[in-house]
Symmetry: C2
Subunit: 215 residues, 2 copies
DNA sequence: GTCTATATAGGGATAGAC
DNA sequence: GTCTATCCCTATATAGAC
């Protein structure tokens, strides 16, 4: 049953970190939630940071997978949309990482390095996708433009959940907001698309944009 | 001397919050730094939140001022640049607010409401500036495009400092990064500019873009 | 206004019994 | 593997002397 308890601790920690923010959840809270003793929790994990790092490893595996660029053929808009969907689903599942990103990484040097690597991979992936669109004739942009836009894609994606939490008055960020996040990323590349594709995009977008910018 | 001590506490708190993050600075740290007793600190402020709220009020006054849109005439690119500069300088001065934004606002409902108001003002200001550029013939964009781009302007500006801290390996965000942040915001509107202005912009930008995306 | 001393609470973590 | 008990430490906050 050791394995099971360990997993239960990780699952509960993830849920509680996501709900309240990692800094606001103590090891005692986690033990209470599971109905186990704090001592038991510390039998399975060295300390709280150990739990965070294990969860980060899960996250890392999943985001690495989501960032794989299919090399077989030239990408189209649907490919981008699909990949963004995978990435945003992953960010949503591990949103505690993004909620207190700066603080978490500042307190843990190892995680900072690992996250920096993910960002580099993401930048490469985003630029590759856009260069694919250019080669496919769907998009028109110079390498310099692509580099700058890719950086903004990273930024918007990374902080979309935080932005969503802070913008407006809702206390809870809802899973619904993911679609709007994907849309806001697409807005970054829309100006560089061929007219037909841009029109196609704004059709897809109208579903989201209805209540996109109200407060 | 009461007034002076109060101000000294606020100044030291701001510096320490900015340096280490508000959650990582205790009232004892602040008292130690100033060479006063914790009791003295609590004579001047009800609690730590009181200090945070007073600093937030300073920030609020300054950002409100920076967000004022000059109504006299149609804006040009330099006006945008200047306003962004004022806004980014303010964000830099009170960067502790942005470093742990989600957590701080989640823990203090009043601040959440006040920040939401600032965001609404900022969105209005950004959209107004862009509509001004359109009327001046410098920019070409529909109202719908402006609304969406304004939202991304808000997001990039709000989280630029966090992004900068998390991207790459430097521990410290430097004041130098402000220029790059302004540049990344300009990248958002560049695709909608007339050719002449876009060229002008990329000339201004070359100073920043040299080491913009290295890791 | 400022200090010293202290109350109170909570979090992280460990020892040792079972 | 799990629990009970506990230690240590730090943070917030207050009381009362000066």
């Amino acid at each position: 049953m050791a394995r099971q308890t360990r997993e239960r601790i990780l699952d509960a920690s993830l849920a509680m970190f996501n709900a309240a923010g990692e800094p606001n959840v103590t090891t005692n809270h986690i033990a209470d939630e599971l109905g186990i003793s704090p001592g038991n929790l510390y039998y399975h994990f060295r300390n709280k940071d150990d739990i965070v790092e294990q969860l980060f490893s899960r996250y890392e595996t999943r985001i690495d997978d989501a960032l794989l660029v299919p090399e077989e053929r030239l990408p189209n808009l649907e490919d981008i949309w699909l990949q963004l969907h995978l990435v945003f689903e992953c960010m949503w599942a591990y949103r505690f990482v993004y909620r207190d990103l700066v603080d978490i990484l500042a307190r843990n040097r190892k995680l900072k390095l690992r996250f920096a690597r993910i960002m580099t991979r993401a930048a490469t992936s985003a630029a590759a996708m856009m260069r694919g669109l250019v080669r496919a004739g769907v998009m028109h942009a110079s390498d310099g433009e692509i580099r700058l836009v890719a950086e903004n894609v990273l930024l918007v994606a990374t902080f979309w959940l935080s932005f969503s939490a802070v913008r407006g008055l809702r206390t809870e960020v809802e899973s619904l907001d993911l679609g709007r996040g994907i849309h806001q990323v697409m807005v970054l590349i829309a100006p560089f698309l061929r007219d037909a594709e841009r029109a196609h995009l704004s059709t897809l977008a109208s579903a989201y944009s209805d209540d996109a910018t109200r407060e």
